[in-house]
Amino acid sequence: MTLPFPILIILVPLITAFFIPIIGWWRRDLCYPLVIVALSVSTLSSVFILHLVEEGGTIHYYLGSWDPPWGIEYVIDHLNAFMAIIVSAISLIVALSSKRSVERELPQKVVYFYCLFLLQVTGLLGIVVTGDMFNLYVFLEIASLAGYALIAIGEDGAPFASFNYMIYGTIGACFYLLSVGYLYVVTGSLNMADLSRILPDLYHSKVVLMAFAFFIVGVGLKMALFPLHVWLPDAYTYAPSAVSALVAPLMTKVGAYVLIRIVFTVFTPSFSISLIPATTILSWVAVIAILFGCILALGQTDLKRMLAYVLIAEVGYIALGVGLANKAGLTGAILHILNDALMMTCLFLVVGAILYKVGLRNIHQFTYLHRKMPITMAAFTVAALSVIGIPPTCGFFSKWYLVLGAIDANQWLFAVVLLVSSLLNAILFFRVIENIYFEPANAHGEGAHEEISVDEAPLSMLIPILVVTAGILSLGVLSGKIISSVIQFAVPAGL
């Protein structure tokens, strides 16, 4: 297959990222349209690739026409195409809504912001489409470095949070590099498909075992799996709004994707499930992550920080699905990657809109907001219902598969934890919803109100929020189609 779409996905944002400082120095206003165009090209390419993959099976693209395993290969199967669409579409939506908030929060640095934004997206897309282990490391670091810089532009505590993130993130990436090195030493190959062929003979070697362990820790640091999540709350709370909206839904999900790749593609399921109890340990860690995230979120009054802890719990859900390692569980995990990306995008975009319009972050200050920004608050409610897992929003359906997976694996405790976390999420979000919608009793007599006019967020923020909300509502009901056409093939056979 020599159609250039796999490389186009990455190349267009990358080249545009290089051009933006130049063009921005010349005309600042051109940055935003350029970013939108680049990301639209990426999104369209990924949609087209999904179409091709559905018709013809896995796509292979050889960089520089060098055959694998000597050259770098880009492999797009169902899982990759699925992730590529998620990453590019979400970044497009966030980019669309970022215009106003960036101008408000970072007036001098608009050009650099967009440059780093595109670099981050390039890195994430690269992780998703590549089929080579070392190439993945390079893109991982591109994304991470752009992330450190983007987060550091934020408000007061941001540079320090970013520094901490950097320390942790570098440890994670270096562990990843180390394990790639171990695998290379024993097998002589860096290509994922090649490794999955060669490794089964070497499963009893200690080197491979160490490599696997380093992988899990490294990727766990990147995806903020408990107990390696410590950097996340600070980093996402202090980052600028547009950055949180970009990084929060994507970075951790791409990390989860890498986890799935390693546990099920590079190391075949027989290794991860039977030979060493990796998936069992993973599922227990994930359960603790879920409970930890939900419980700690209860104590937060800053909405963004609360959402950061909810994100840790959501990562726990995905890791639980991976750890359950049966068909239903993995379907739930992959579906949850999509659903969680949508929910978190919506929530963080709403937070950004609230910050832009009224400058408030403390949930106790949210009274009267439903009058001022009714549409935004409705979107928030829908996203909150999705996090809780109320049908027919999409969050319910991924939870359904996860619970099915837990019952299938005879782990009833996990099912109970999943349901308890739904209730904890309900407490979390209804606290905020009550503050938004119910006014203090003395404010309304028999119909007398203060006159608070509707002052909605600007259209450039409102339309992306509405698009994502429509997605949350419709993709739930359509989840059957998504599973039967895409996810079903992404789940490795033999589970």
Binding site: F134, Y137, V138, E141, L145, Y148, A149, A152, D156, G157, P159, F160, S162, F163, M166, I167, T170, I171, A173, C174, L177, L178, G181, Y184, V185, L190
Partner: protein
Amino acid sequence: MELIISKYNYWVYIILMMIGFYAMIGKRNLVKKLVGMNIFQTAIILYFVSTGAKRGASIPIVEGGHGEAIHAIHAAHYVNPLPHVLMLTAIVVMVSTFGVALALIIMLYRRYNTLEEDEILELRK
């Protein structure tokens, strides 16, 4: 003893890595953390390169270059070039990380006037 002598490259890199790791976590000063990070990454690069070494091999450049007839190449005569190439990329990554980190440190110093982690945490309260 045999174990240590024959695998000395592994021991060196492990010790270096642990020094760097300790510095990253245990030191209070931000610049020392950064130095630790650098040592950590360098240790890994050292490990990679050391795995490519072979007994009695020379550097992986073919004499005679292009244009002239290429003799048969015995892989055992040349050090494995792939780790070198990979590590060039990794060194670039390391340097960029270092650059970003230094930029962050400058920002932090301008804001808090100190580079000690505990003092910064105090100031942030």
